[in-house]
Symmetry: C2
Subunit: 263 residues, 2 copies
DNA sequence: TAGTGGTCTAGACCACTAT
DNA sequence: TAGTGGTCTAGACCACTAA
């Protein structure tokens, strides 16, 4: 069952050996802790340990992989830095989840100009299955015309509609996602994706521009057509850098701003 | 001269002692490596090691601070993660500098929609000394009316004017900054700040919005008044989280976008 | 009290760079 | 060849949590 997996680590065959035996064509040895990190990531990806759950202790993992605790520690350090995992002193290491206040703000950068961030009121306008447009297919690494789920929604803060957003999700992964499910679900959408569809968003890239509001969007946001809006186009990735969401948002930035840290 | 500084480390007085002697009012002990990190940061800040220079080796620092190499290592690991320092295997650890391609793109997120990033053509429109407006003074942690240097410039990519930017810098720190100096200087502005004024930008926060172009800016960018522009308001910080620059940019995002990574 | 992650040490060996 | 950062180990002790 959960027995020790067959480890293929180059523990007894240090990197130097590669240079001696087959210089130039060395099969890219990597440090032990990187291999451990990859093995742990595999277990996360396969669902052996689910979001929110406790993973085995450092000592146990060290025994399992036949390495020292320090090596496991360095592997987990990097996973924690990448937000795949959360350490808690005295308790253990947990698989990161979107069902936490912490994780929310990593993926919602729109902040009120004054006051504390608030939770959004979410209104689903449309959910349907359709064939992926060429551009979306390209971004999702699918073939043009493959089945995708399309969602359109409006988010309001303090009663004021602020974000109009369209989402495209791979139809195969999110099969069975319905408007009812989205509407009745409380909490962050990424939380639903994670618990209902086993797909956890790890990171995302965004392209931001200023655009003029089209008539339909303007009406939804209660602004004149042509008003300047922030266009945020996001591609989200899960384990293995696999793209699993395209999101195009139009943000009204009259009393909100997109907050970014350059560090 | 460069003798061993007086170390005030709680090496022999572990954190547990605080709980025993004065519980509740413990004077916040910190781990050794954090103290080492703070000491190294002080040396960076004071200019003991200048941008681009080699800092002492891990072994030497370990001897100087009377700790193990591993502890120094962990301190430097964090400094490297914060981009204050760059490690190079076999050579040593160097103080980070803005005179590198690497550092440029951390602070310039506007990318062409297609093609490689390019270097900007920089046109200085105005440089003058004035009294800080209230809002700028607040952001720079100065008193309203204190002297600041004001700069206005236009940046073009491939000959197309794309960014109109206004900067405010504390007059005391940047005394002697003239239009001539800015114009004749080749390379990134932060590089000039670092070498000529000893002030290195460490991190920055940005507030991004969509706004309509005013008449003057529209003319500079060659767009109609009212065209949507990306407004980027930046506050940059140097060592000790001290704000030393306010920058308000208006970006034309017709063929460029602001690129961001959520991770 | 037992188990967890967090800190610190000391030492070994490796890979890379320069001389 | 010497010196640097990079990896790995083994062991000690600490702080925190929960039973």
């Amino acid at each position: 069952m959960s027995s020790v997996p067959t480890n293929l680590l180059n523990n007894g065959a240090p990197a130097g050996a590669a240079g001696t035996s087959s210089p130039g064509t060395s099969p890219t040895f990597s440090p032990l802790y990187q291999q451990i990190k990859a093995l742990i990531t595999q277990s996360l990806q396969s669902g052996e340990w689910k979001p929110g759950e406790l993973i085995p202790s450092e000592v146990e993992l060290a025994n399992r992989f036949k390495v020292s605790q320090g090596t496991v520690r360095k592997a987990i350090d990097e996973l924690a830095a990448e937000n795949l995992v959360v350490r808690r002193q005295g308790k253990g290491t947990f698989v990161a989840t979107h069902h936490e206040a912490r994780a929310q703000f990593r993926f919602l950068r729109l902040m009120p100009d004054a006051g504390d961030p608030h939770s959004a009121d979410n209104k689903i306008l449309d959910v349907k299955r359709l064939r992926a447009p060429a551009e979306v297919a390209r971004q999702l690494d699918m073939k043009s015309g493959d089945s995708v789920i399309f969602i359109k929604r409006v988010q309001s803060f303090d009663g004021a509609p602020t974000i109009v957003e369209e989402l495209w999700l791979p139809g195969l992964i999110f099969k069975g996602l319905t408007a009812e499910r989205l509407i009745e679900y409380k909490g962050p959408m990424y939380g639903l994706f994670e618990t209902e569809f086993g797909t956890r968003m790890i990171r995302a890239t965004e392209r931001i521009r200023a655009v003029a509001a089209d008539a339909a969007t303007a009406e939804l946001l209660g602004v004149p057509a042509g008003a300047p809006l922030l266009s945020v186009e996001r591609v989200s990735f899960t384990y293995g850098d696999k793209p699993v969401e395209v999101r195009r948002g139009l943000y009204l930035t009259d009393s909100h701003h997109y907050q970014n840290e350059l560090s």
